[in-house]
């Protein structure tokens, strides 16, 4: 019996979700509910027994444990940023990225939301849609999270009445459609995290609600990675070469599917070949698909190195270019310095990059744009970037993996910003021959002894992408 249970259990998939909201909205209670009640449910499924659905506000003591943990962190003065928590049912494993609602909300939400397939936005039914709700919605849309659950909480506190719920639900739908969000699904449910209504168990207190419970929604939301529709992309991460006869290109499939025999193009070189073999781990396979880690062997001996991207020749090609327009979320206490050379890491490529211009500052509360000259912690701006070598990428709205990057401070090595690619200008060898970029050596972590090395770097840049850089003391 246990063997059958395990065999079935192994087949479940994995969903990553973000919880947005503050402790005041009952977020800790909701997470506690999910963690503890799902374990109970798991036990029940194994025992093939049914418990009475839990009524009334009992069992609060269980959740105190979790909340205490958060309190302890606060007392220790540890920055509460993103904490990851885990639970599972017999259908799915869930990873919750739990981020605080108030302090540093932008940095934390962007971090937690970057890997999320789904977001739960919590609303206190007595408060309705707040500035925070709108802000969270904008950030979630910006991050390309396609499945949204608006959980209207604390229904117990208003006697489980239908009207307040309906008013908030229709107000939110109306506002969200006016914003032009690209959510695939938007579900709105009335819950009480404290009493457990519609979280795991269906509530008898709200007979007027006939939709799914929160857990039912979490279990049934389709995974975006499970679609074979996007074009195939695999940034080459590592070359496996145990002997002269074997040359495997290892990497994680960012999107799409690939089969043995398919024609592939390697970018940025543009050389092509056919797929001879695909390995997932030590197993030979006919197909590869996102998000597998695979090793690909090609029919022809072509020069490929880390940072290149393998794509399918018969599908839409990614952009190749050095000039990006992007949204950048600043995460560093040290503000952005224009014309400073940062590191930019995208996929498996790291290049040097500088912000040429800040086009606008994005107001995350309203989606509005305004002018600005610099970018500091938790601000989001539309920028133009110039890279030292061409990037192979897609726009973030087309591909959440090949359209994302991070910015690293060359001095502190801190992750200073998260970037979302909006568009790429095709490589033009004549770019900016006139423009002068002044870079302070000391500000970029170089000393006078590094001049020789820097000149070498400049020549590499020149030979690879036609940008001439002169380096003088």
């Amino acid at each position: 019996m246990i063997k059958d249970f395990l065999a079935q259990d192994e087949r479940k998939d994995m969903l990553r979700l973000l919880t947005a909201g503050s402790v005041d909205d009952g977020k800790s209670t909701l997470i506690g509910r999910l963690l503890f009640d799902s374990k109970r449910l798991y036990e029940d499924q194994l025992q093939a027994l049914y418990r009475d659905s839990r009524q009334g506000c009992s069992g609060e003591a269980d959740y105190a444990l979790l909340c205490d943990g958060l309190k302890a962190e606060r007392e220790q003065g540890i920055t509460i940023d993103v904490a990851y928590r885990y639970f599972a049912t017999s259908r799915r494993k869930f990873i919750i990225a739990d981020t605080p609602g108030h302090e540093q909300y932008t940095r934390n939400m962007v971090t937690g939301g970057s890997t999320a397939d789904l977001a739960i936005i919590l609303v206190d039914v007595r408060q309705g849609i707040t500035l925070q709700t709108r802000r969270h919605s904008h950030l979630i849309d910006m991050l390309g999270i396609k499945h949204i659950i608006l959980a209207i909480n604390k229904m117990d506190s208003i006697g489980y009445r239908k009207e307040p719920f309906n008013n908030i639900a229709s107000a939110y739908r109306c506002w969200a459609s006016a914003q032009g969000f690209s959510f695939s699904t938007l579900n709105i449910i009335p819950i009480s995290a404290l009493c457990g209504d519609n979280v795991i168990n269906r509530s008898d207190n709200m007979a007027w609600y006939s939709g799914p419970t929160l857990l039912e929604l979490l279990e049934s939301t389709p995974l975006s990675s499970a679609s074979g529709l996007s074009p195939f992309r695999m940034p080459v991460q590592y070359i496996i070469r145990p002997n002269q006869d074997f040359r495997g290109f290892a990497g994680r499939v960012a999107s799409g599917t690939l089969s043995v025999g398919d024609s592939v193009t390697v970018l940025p070189s543009g050389k092509s070949s056919r797929v001879a073999q695909i390995f997932t781990g030590s197993t030979l396979c006919h197909h590869a698909f996102a998000p597998q880690s695979v090793t690909i062997v090609l029919e022809d001996q072509i020069d490929i190195s880390r940072g290149d991207m393998i794509v399918r020749s018969d599908q839409q090609q990614p952009a190749v270019g050095q000039r990006l327009s992007a949204l950048m979320v600043w995460m560093d206490e040290v503000p952005l310095e224009a014309e400073r050379l940062y590191y930019l890491k995208q996929g498996t490529t790291t290049v040097r990059a500088t912000v040429k211009s800040i086009d606008y500052l994005l107001d995350i509360n309203s989606g509005g744009k305004s002018h600005c000259n610099t970018l500091s912690l938790n601000q989001i701006a539309g920028v133009e970037l110039l890279c030292s070598a061409p990037l192979v990428c897609d726009s973030y709205s087309d591909n959440r993996h090949t359209g994302a990057f991070i910015i690293i401070d060359p001095m502190s090595n801190y992750t200073s910003a998260a970037g979302i690619i909006l568009g790429v200008q095709a490589t033009d060898t004549a770019i900016d021959n006139q423009s002068v970029i002044k870079i302070s050596l000391s500000q970029n972590g170089f000393s006078a002894e590094d001049i020789e090395l820097l000149n070498h770097f400049c020549r590499v840049v020149e030979s690879r992408c036609g940008i001439t850089i002169n380096c003088t003391e």
Partner: protein, 301 residues
């Protein structure tokens, strides 16, 4: 064609990506191998990541000299069978002075034979990245630790100032003398580990499975009589019980649980119904007995 990846395969894909990223970006990585079940899974994933090539970094075991003897046998067999370079390091000075949990207490023992030994070994070989098998579900403080966790020149972790970690783009840049601890199993839970061991038929130390063993009840903890270094008065109290271990470490500090689970299925079944976390069976406090000795130690070292 079904393009849905099971949770175990999704976790595996993520871990392999992390392991490859380290091999590509660091000049001297090492995999810390503790011989436990998580280490067994991590090592298995590393072999998969570079197949059909060899894993391009060594394993390192920090031997506290108080591990279960079955662990050491398992370790040596594992490295030999896989033709994998294994570095074994221990704190020679403390070992020669006879540091151990029975005489010095768990705090001093852990500090000298585990923490100090690890830091010295990392420095000795100049490793710039070290894989560890820790999981975020093990304890609360780990829930927020990054997968690529930065260590400064003093090899210290600063939870207040961690680098944001976004998408699957890992910041691997470090300065001279700094290093990164990498946790490829961050998103695995204990049950995932056992399911994967079962599915992939990964060998683990037999102590995880229930068997009749000689144990002594010390303050409610069942301690295995693993060798003659256990004080005689304790050894004399040993009784045969059917027990297994949820975690493995130094034998005097690792309590067994009474169990009849002698298969992975049995372990998983027990786990689903278990109320205690696996950490509660680890590190027994001998410190009260050792406080005098501790003072001497502190003055001495």
């Amino acid at each position: 064609m079904n393009y849905n990846l099971s949770h175990l395969r999704a976790l595996e894909a993520e871990s392999i990506e992390i392991i490859r990223e380290v091999a590509a970006e660091f000049s001297a990585p090492v995999m810390l191998y503790s011989i436990g079940k998580d280490s067994s899974v991590m090592a298995h994933l590393a072999k998969k990541a570079f197949y059909p090539g060899k894993v391009p970094f060594p394993l390192m075991h920090i031997d506290s000299k108080w591990k279960f003897s079955e662990m050491i046998t398992f370790r040596d067999n594992f490295a030999r069978e896989n033709d994998w370079e294994l570095i074994v390091e221990y704190n020679r000075k403390a070992y020669e002075e006879g540091v151990g949990p029975f005489t010095h207490g768990s705090k001093i023992h852990t500090e000298l034979m585990k923490t100090r030994a690890l830091l010295d070994a990392l420095q000795k070989y100049g490793f710039d990245a070290a894989f560890g098998g820790a999981r975020r579900d093990e304890e609360k403080s780990r829930a927020k630790e990054r997968i690529f966790s930065f260590r400064d020149r003093q090899q210290q972790w600063e939870p207040r100032n961690q680098r944001p970690e976004l998408w699957n783009i890992y910041n691997t840049r470090i300065g001279k003398g700094e290093s990164i601890r990498v946790f490829p199993l961050s998103n695995w839970t204990e049950i995932d580990i056992w399911q994967y061991i079962r599915h992939e038929k990964i060998a683990v130390v037999p102590l995880y499975f229930a068997a009749e063993r000689n144990v002594v009840d010390i303050d409610g903890n069942l301690i295995l009589v693993d060798d003659m270094r256990m004080p005689k008065e304790l050894r004399e109290r040993a009784v045969k019980r059917r027990v297994r271990f949820r975690t493995l470490g130094c034998y005097p500090l690792t309590g067994a649980i009474e169990s009849s689970a002698d298969t992975i299925e049995g372990i998983v079944e027990e786990m689903i119904f278990a109320t205690k976390s696996e950490r509660t069976t680890r590190v027994i406090d001998f410190d009260r007995e050792a406080s005098m000795e501790q003072k001497k130690r502190e003055g001495y070292f």
